[in-house]
Each structure stands twice: as C-alpha cells, then as structure tokens.
C-alpha cells in the first residue's frame, strides 16, 4: 500500500508507468498523514503539506511490527530489508 497526497489520477499514471500492481491511496488533505505524524509542512511544489517518506509493516491484528523513518530523503527502505522483516508476520 502506498500513500501520498497525490490525486488518484496522478497515482494511476504513476502505477501505469512504473508497473506497480499494489494499490496507491490518495490522501488529498493529508488527514491520515497527519494522524501518523508524517506531515512535512510546506514541502510540496506549491508549499502544500506533503508526507515525509516513511514505511510501516502492520500485522493482521493491526499492530505495527516494523517502522522505517529515513533521516535523508534520498535514502529509502530497500526491498530485501522489507522482505526480511516480513518474516516477522505469522
């Protein structure tokens, strides 16, 4: 699941171009992003509030099992890192 402030149309284009098969969800007014305390205030192109990069692994009971909050936005979680922690899920 990927979440951003992008409108659904922009996410659809992104998914098509990049070949993503997982859902991309649209949080236009950053409500969910705010609830997760991930707002990067004014960091959008036109000074909008956007999400900082962040990854969470949630188990089937809704409990967070792994969090990755990068300190540098060029640095993101690597796929092999996520596959490793996914083994925590039963």
């Amino acid at each position: 699941m990927a979440i951003s402030v992008d409108p659904p149309e922009a996410s659809r284009n992104l998914a098509q171009q990049a070949g993503y098969t997982f859902p991309l969800l649209s949080d236009r007014n950053a409500e969910t992003i705010r609830r997760y305390d991930l707002v990067h205030a004014g960091a959008g192109e036109h000074g909008q509030d956007i999400s900082r990069p962040a990854e969470f692994l949630v188990d089937s009971s809704g409990t967070v099992r792994w969090v990755h909050l990068t300190e540098n936005y060029w640095v993101r979680a690597r796929p092999e890192q996520v596959l490793e922690v996914a083994k925590l899920l039963k």
Partner: protein
C-alpha cells in the same frame, strides 16, 4: 588546435564536475548502493577537483600564453566548479535531511491508526478492510504502508 595551448585539464575538470552533479539523478539514484551514499559522485568530484587544480596551476604558470585572460577564465571556471560541488554536498547532506522528526508516528507494538482513503479507481479502502479481506482465499498476514512524498 594545439593541445599545449588549450588548458585541457581545466575544461575536463568542468565537464567531470557537471557529470558528477547530474549523474546522481540520471544514473546513481536508481541503484541503492550508489543512492544511499553518493560515493560515485564524490569520486567524480574528487577527479574534477584534481583536474581543476591542475588547470588553475597551468593558467598561473609563468610561461602561460595570454596570462591575464587565462588566469581570469581559470579562476572563474574553478569557482563555478567549486560552487556546483558545494551545491551537491549541501543538497545531499544538509537539505535532504530537513525532514520532520515524526516523534508521534506509530511505534512498534502500537496499533496502526485506521484510515479510509481513495484508491486509483476512486474506491474507498480502509486499513481494517485491507487486514481482513482474504487474498486468494487466505487471510492476509499484514500490510506494508509506504508513505511517499508524491508528485502532486
């Protein structure tokens, strides 16, 4: 053109500087090993700095033709190169780290706050649904949430 008269290390230094700057987004950003730490770009900048330094020395050598013109050009090119390198270093090591601390983000062991958002087909999707809707007849083991900056 006579290679001895052209200050080739200076111009090569400028080219390598620009290559070092633009190759991050065009090439090295796409591979985690060169993305998470820009050592490939830093290596290019090191080569560029050596070339610029040699170019600068050639321009300031006593036997250099068109002494003043060469010196002014070499100084300007070197200053520009230094500026480009400084801009890259600032962008990667300072600007890219201006990210909110997100102290209130859900932590390991806490419940992930529920949400209902719209997918690319305009359909509402909630976290509760994602965690309970079977996939190929099996109950899902979990959900990976990726928050990203987006393209607006």
């Amino acid at each position: 053109m006579n290679l001895r008269r052209v200050n080739w290390p200076l111009w090569a230094g400028l080219l390598v500087t620009l290559a070092g700057f633009f190759s991050y987004i065009t090439v090295f950003m796409w591979y985690p090993v060169t993305r998470d730490f820009p050592w490939a770009n830093l290596l290019l900048f090191l080569v560029a700095a050596v070339l610029l330094f040699i170019g600068l020395r050639r321009a300031f050598a006593r036997d250099c033709p068109h002494r003043w013109r060469s010196r002014i050009i070499a100084s300007l090119v070197t200053a520009f190169g230094a500026l480009v390198i400084a801009l890259f270093l600032f962008g990667f090591f300072v600007f890219a780290r201006w990210i909110p601390a997100s102290k209130g983000a859900p932590q390991v062991g806490q419940k992930a706050p529920d949400f209902t958002l719209t997918d690319t087909n305009g359909k509402s999707v909630s976290l509760g649904e994602l965690l309970s809707t079977p996939i190929n007849g099996n109950a899902p083991k979990g959900v990976l949430l990726i928050f990203y900056r987006g393209y607006w």
